[in-house]
């Protein structure tokens, strides 16, 4: 029960929880107290002195933003004294303000403008010389104009308290205080745009939209960001069909108004000049412009011919998980009904499917049993294989909030060293950090489980309920020696014991599983092992506890739930679940195709061997994602029909017989399902570019031409069908209600389910080396995701390219010294597969022996990689290789 206090504000009586600030209480009764420095996300600083109010029994005026409400308090916000105070504070703030509103981008939505219209006389008594700061170049994306600054320090506090980046600081004293960054070169930070959003005046503005608009000209559309699985709500602001800027209102969506660089500055992809605007058909070896009618008729004709000649299983379908649920749903329905094959896969195959499989196996759910709110209120957080700040920045903010504001214990297992850098490093906040090599996640997790078992921290109820399971797991970990674990992880047994102790004594624990685990061999097994950890500590099934695999692409989760995978039907239900098949057949009024279906890698193999004749690829680029050693190019080239629905002419689209222009998220309606399973509406912000069409519309048209019409009026109709078939797609509420673990599945897992693959899961085993991989090179190259890009999609966003336009080879300085390399050196990186030339970047956070390269610019780096496929889940792994590095001539 929350303690409450009663107080009176301007005659309104209100009861608020104890500790509520007067300004917040006032807002609740509809009284607006003017303020600059107060922000609900930040700790009160009370520096602008704008929110002075009269409180009975207090001699002086008090700042409403820093005074907590007390029992019986009587607050007055509109007395003569208070108004005089507001007026005088504004007079001070305006004294040195340049009043260049006509050329200021904030003009029209500026707090200072609004308040001065409300409180001050139009002429100031200030007749002295105004203070001026010389203009300094700040950064390519963020512009500062310090003369306009009111020194509320919101940007500085946001950068520190929320983002944990600390890129900005006030410098100078008194009137000469200005907000600066620390270094002599231009601003180098996470570019989350938080300072731009939070600035109450025009002191910090975005250069991307500078002078392009006035606030009243903008049309707004609330939609969902398309970059990572966090599913942040963004408001795209447009002017005359031009994308002007992106913002996210305080309290909006799952991100609560916080964004990352990708969300805030990466919006120009949709209007990139390279966007495909017309269908293209290959004629005499060249892709030439065609009309929609010609293109679709040709596709339908060829497809029908091939289907008659080779049967439906000569077809394959691949869809990108950046598409909406409607596109994904219709695509799998198209493949299953119109074409009649189970050869369906999506980019969720690269990793998300691992997580879903493990969750389904152990607890019978296909999504998280926790939400972002549970992360924030968790007492212990374990992050495995995820540099969460760079892959899922907003989930990262939730972790930061839990650790910084609520003192949660953070445990991290990551191929990352705790070191201060220009980008915040989640390992810096960790109470217990295990820095491992990319193949060391499993030993580290096993180390934790061993500590649980050996320190007798196994939950008693579990030991009574499932003695066999506990026995089996205990024996499995006891067989592992601490020496072996220490050798594999580089951390002492004591550190595992300490970490486990602080993890087990908490009531709410969440484990976040990242791409380091999910996109690696046996990712599904390790995720199941993490669920074992939660089961053993007794957290599993408790409210606010769970294992949460992080989705990399924005609709990875949706792709699985829509059944865009060979092993899942919409739901997701297993493809050979007879009840689900019958239910679906009834809804679709058609029998579902039988047969196992082919996964991504199998389809490519099939294309190479000639068993696959045709492929429909929607928004996915296997030729550009998989390394050349996988032979994707050759395989796709040998197809009789390759249809691509794409925004740009990608590597794959260049091989296609027909390229159909699809439209981006900014132009279509639909829904995305984020990593926590929250279904959110996507709304179009601009009109369709050129002749592009939403993917579902193209598929629908094709289905008509192919003689099996799947006709829908709009995306809503498809969603209606989805809603009738798939649980969790009912009401689109403000927050998701996570599913509870299915007790029947958990019990069956504890009884017998655990045993399959147990021995394999509980061995330290060397990482499965790709066939022929040689270990005699000096460094392990790991292709990773960085904060400023998401896949290859964002490499066409002009804003993000200004921050990061090319890949660099990041090394630990110690390795740099060992190899005689300095920052900025050109190096030749090679192994038996190929070589590349790139630039060296020395970073303390990269562990010794490892070299990171961003996957977004891996056109060259891909040549060094080999693909190995997980036999169980068919997940391809191609992220690391051992390489030799030498200085380029």
């Amino acid at each position: 029960m929350v303690e409450t206090v009663k107080l009176t504000i301007d005659g309104h009586h209100i009861t608020v929880p104890k500790g509520t600030l007067v300004i917040e209480a006032a807002r609740q009764v509809g009284v607006m107290v003017p303020h600059f420095c107060y922000h609900p996300k930040l700790k009160p600083d009370a520096n602008c002195r704008m929110c002075l109010v009269e409180i009975e029994k207090m001699p002086k005026l008090q700042t409403a933003c820093s005074t907590p409400a007390a029992e019986g308090m009587v607050v007055r916000t509109a007395t003569t004294v208070v108004n005089e105070a507001h007026k005088s504070v504004l007079e001070f703030i305006l004294a040195n303000h340049p009043l260049d509103c006509p050329v200021c981008d904030q003009g029209g939505r500026c707090d200072l403008q609004d308040f001065s219209h409300e409180y001050t006389p139009t002429t100031s008594r200030f007749i002295e010389v105004k203070r001026v700061f010389p203009k300094e170049y700040f950064s390519p994306l963020i512009e500062t104009q310090m003369n306009r600054c009111v020194q509320c320090l919101r940007c500085v506090r946001y950068c520190d308290e929320v983002m944990d980046v600390k890129a900005l600081a006030p410098s100078g004293r008194g009137t000469m205080t200005e907000i600066k960054h620390f270094t002599h070169h231009e601003l180098d930070c996470e570019f989350c745009g938080g300072c731009v959003q939070i600035c109450p005046v025009g002191a910090i503005t975005s250069r991307l939209s500078m002078y392009e608009f006035r606030p009243w000209m903008l049309k707004r559309a609330d939609t969902v960001c398309t970059y990572c699985g966090d599913g942040c709500q963004i408001t795209i602001q447009t002017k005359e069909n031009q994308l002007i800027e992106v913002m996210s209102a305080q309290g909006a969506g799952r991100n609560n108004g916080d964004l990352c660089a990708r969300g805030f500055f990466g919006y120009h992809v949709s209007t990139h000049p390279d966007r495909l605007q017309h269908p293209l058909i290959r004629r005499n070896g060249e892709l030439v412009q065609a009309t929609w009618e010609d293109a679709l008729e040709w596709v339908a004709e060829t497809a029908i011919r091939l289907k008659l000649a080779h049967g439906p299983n000569a077809f394959g379908g691949l869809i990108g998980a950046r598409c909406t649920n409607e596109d994904l749903y219709l695509f799998q329905k198209f493949m299953r009904l119109v074409v009649g094959t189970n050869n369906i896969d999506s980019s969720a195959r690269y990793g998300q499917i691992n997580g879903v499989r493990a969750l389904r196996r152990v607890q019978g759910t296909s999504r998280w049993t926790v939400t972002f709110d549970d992360i924030v209120s968790a007492e212990a957080l374990l992050l495995v294989g995820t540099n969460v700040t760079e892959t899922n920045p907003i989930t990262g903010l939730k972790v930061k909030e839990a650790v910084k504001k609520r003192q949660a214990t953070l445990l991290t297992i990551e191929a990352l060293e705790p070191a201060v850098g220009t980008i915040s490093n989640i390992a810096n906040l960790a109470a217990h950090h295990f820095s491992v090599q990319p193949d060391g996640f499993k030993p580290a997790v096993l180390g934790l489980i061993k500590a649980v078992v050996e320190e007798n921290l196994v939950s008693q109820p579990l030991a009574q309920k499932a003695p066999g399971y506990v026995q089996a797991v205990s024996e499995a970990v006891r067989r592992l020696s601490w020496q072996a674990i220490e050798r594999a992880t580089g951390s002492s047994s004591q550190s595992f014991i300490d970490a486990t102790r602080s993890f087990t004594r908490t009531a709410r624990a969440v484990i976040l599983v990242g791409q380091g685990v999910l996109r690696a061999p046996d990712g599904s097994g390790l995720t199941a092992t993490l669920l074992d950890l939660l089961l053993l500590t007794g957290h599993h099934g408790l409210p606010g506890c769970g294992v949460a695999p992080l989705a990399e692409e924005n609709n990875d989760q949706g792709a699985v739930e829509m059944g865009a995978a060979l092993e899942y039907l919409p739901g997701p239900s297993d493809a050979n679940d007879q009840a689900a098949r019958a239910r679906l057949a009834q809804a679709w009024k058609e029998e579902l195709p039988k047969g196992p279906g082919k996964s991504l890698m199998e389809m490519i193999e099939g294309a190479r061997t000639g068993s696959l004749k045709a492929m429909f690829i929607v928004g996915e680029n296997p030729a550009g994602s998989l390394p050349p050693s996988a032979g994707t190019m050759e395989a796709l080239q040998s197809l009789d029909l390759l249809v691509c629905q794409e925004l740009f002419l990608t590597e794959t689209a260049r091989l296609a017989h027909v390229v159909l222009p699809a439209c981006s998220y900014a132009e279509k309606d639909g829904t995305f399902t984020n990593t926590e399973g929250h279904v959110q509406s996507v709304r179009h912000a601009i009109e369709l570019i050129g002749e592009s069409r939403p993917d579902w519309e193209i598929l629908s048209a094709l289905s008509v031409l192919m003689g099996y019409p799947l006709e829908y009026g709009d995306a809503k109709e498809i969603f209606k069908e989805i809603r009738s078939l798939i649980p969790g797609y009912g009401l689109l509420g403000p927050a998701p209600t996570p599913p509870r673990p299915d007790q029947a599945v958990v019990e069956s897992y504890l009884k017998t389910g655990y045993s399959s693959g147990l021995a394999e899961r509980y061995t330290l085993g060397e990482r499965r080396a790709a066939s022929g991989e040689r270990k005699d090179f000096s460094l392990t190259l790991l292709v990773t995701q960085t904060l400023f890009h998401s896949g290859k999609f964002s490499t066409r966003a002009k804003g993000l390219l200004q921050v990061q336009a090319e890949g660099a080879f990041s090394l630990n300085p110690a390795d740099g010294t060992r190899l005689g390399l300095a920052e900025g050196d050109r190096v030749r990186v090679s192994n038996d597969l190929g070589e590349m030339t790139t630039t060296v970047k020395l970073q303390d956070r990269v562990p010794v022996g490892l070299a990171l390269f961003p996957e977004h610019f891996d056109q060259e780096a891909r040549r060094l990689l080999r693909v190995s496929t997980d036999p169980a889940t068919q997940v391809p792994y191609y992220k690391s290789a051992s390489v030799k590095v030498e200085k380029a001539k």
């Binding site: 009160p44 600083d45 009370a46 520096n47 602008c48 002195r49 704008m50 002075l52 002086k60 005026l61 700042t63 820093s66 105070a85 005088s88 504070v89 007079e91 001070f92 703030i93 004294a95 040195n96 340049p98 009043l99 100031s124 008594r125 200030f126 007749i127 002295e128 010389v129 105004k130 203070r131 009111v150 020194q151 600081a169 006030p170 100078g172 004293r173 008194g174 009137t175 000469m176 205080t177």
Partner: protein
């Protein structure tokens, strides 16, 4: 430093005035030093020490004059965990130079006071936040701490009583605002020295968020004497019951013998200036007195008989503050004096709160214009208005301090302002000379 022959029994300055006294540990011990610490350590309960200090009526010598014992009593009673004592040696108030002498000439007296305070509040760590410019003082203190630690007066297991008292010297970086206790804590934590929003007060969440007591050097230096000679003795000195003990006044300005004078609380300004400091420098009559450092309001000759204790000075419309008495003779331009002080405050305004940040530059520019004979009559009203708008609307007391000189000079010497402005008007130079682009 010129010292007059002591008229009263000196307490704080007694040792250092002995011929040949070097301030070393040996000298201090010979003069009866560290006896107070021996007397209480492990023998008297910390709460009793606090009670003794409360009983003595010792009030803070830094400026605000808050009773020391009561301040200690604000610490949470059942708190388990580190507590801190901070010795505020950031003596930056213009016209104040007592702490410097105490630290440089008799450092062990301060250290013993710190040790006693640490024991009383249960702090194991004390920080001396010394003003950055006091290089010599910092060196002397470092040396004294080393001596005391070697002799077992500081460090682990002090005097075998199982008490840990570690003292560290931290040099500031030269900001006046760091004398404000919360800004001092911020600076000590390695952050930008900006005052914190109160509440929470340092007593509950101070240094690193832990309960912290901040005392002035002079306050702490008084402690050994209170312990040795008893609170009743201390309470009988000065003008009991509210202002007890001796007080060091730093007399500066147009007097014959500027310097530090330790006198009982409650002597009159006249006594201090004319008897102790030797009267006015030249034969010109006295025009103005600042009774308690730059942030106190001016006094006129009418106030010569005001008793120098906390209550009387406050009643007369000023404050005793840090005890820096600045004397000005007839012929001093009070507008110029106000400008001079205002320039100091403008330079030292930390920039946190809008009224103080913008107001100080505004006030300085306006005053400068008046002094340069370019003022206008309306300016006086603007000045008063601005001062009233700054005072009481800032996070710390700096806002109130910076307007005191202007408000008091405007109150007592308004005619001087008017005279300057009339000259300006006569010359026609009250027209604005600013570039018009600056006038919005």
């Amino acid at each position: 430093m010129t010292m007059a022959k002591p008229k009263y029994e000196l307490i704080l300055l007694k040792n250092m005035l002995q011929p040949g006294y070097t301030g070393s540990l040996a000298d201090y011990e010979r003069a009866g030093g560290y006896q107070a610490l021996r007397k209480i350590l492990g023998k008297v309960a910390p709460a009793e020490v606090t009670a003794m200090v409360t009983k003595s009526g010792l009030r803070g010598r830094g400026g605000a004059g808050f009773p020391a014992g009561i301040k200690w009593g604000f610490l949470p009673k059942d708190y388990q965990g580190p507590k801190y004592l901070c010795c505020n040696a950031d003596e930056s108030e213009p016209g104040t130079f007592k702490d410097r002498q105490l630290m440089e000439r008799d450092p062990h007296q301060v250290l013993e006071g710190i040790a006693i305070a640490c024991y009383a509040i249960g702090a194991e760590t004390a920080y001396i936040y010394i003003r950055g410019e006091f290089v010599l003082g910092a060196k002397i203190l470092e040396k004294a701490i080393a001596e005391a630690r070697a002799a077992g007066y500081l460090g682990k297991n002090v005097l075998g009583a199982g008490v840990t008292i570690d003292v560290w010297v931290h040099r500031g970086a030269g900001a006046y605002i760091c004398g404000e206790e919360t800004a001092l804590l911020e600076s000590l934590e390695g952050k930008r020295g900006l005052p914190r929003v109160k509440p929470p007060f340092p007593a509950t969440a101070g240094l690193y968020g832990k309960p912290t007591v901040i005392n002035n050097v002079e306050t702490l230096a008084n402690l050994p004497h209170i312990i040795t000679r008893g609170p009743e003795w201390f309470a009988s000195i000065g003008s009991p019951p509210k202002s007890t003990g001796m007080r060091i006044f730093c007399v500066s300005g147009h007097v014959k013998r500027p310097g530090n004078y330790e006198v009982p609380m409650g002597i009159t300004c006249r006594d201090l200036i004319f008897e102790h400091a030797g009267g006015m420098r030249s034969d010109k009559p006295l025009k103005a007195i600042i009774p308690g450092g730059a942030s106190a309001s001016f006094f006129t000759p009418e106030h010569l008989d005001v008793k120098l204790d906390f209550e009387s000075v406050a009643q007369a419309g000023s404050m005793l503050g840090s005890g820096g008495v600045t004397v000005m003779e007839e012929g001093t331009s009070m507008v110029w004096a106000a400008l001079r002080l205002m320039e100091f405050f403008h330079h030292e305004s930390c920039g946190k709160c809008s009224p103080c940040r913008e107001g100080s530059s505004w006030l300085v520019q306006t005053l400068r214009r008046i002094v340069n004979k370019r003022g206008r009559m309306q300016d006086l009203e603007t000045l008063t208005d601005l001062c009233q708008n700054i005072a009481g609307r800032t996070v710390c007391a700096f806002g109130d301090a910076e307007v005191a000189p202007i408000l008091s000079t405007l109150k007592y010497w308004r005619h001087e302002y008017e005279e300057l402005i009339r000259t300006a008007e006569a010359n026609g130079s009250s027209e604005l000379l600013m570039p018009a682009a600056a006038r919005h």
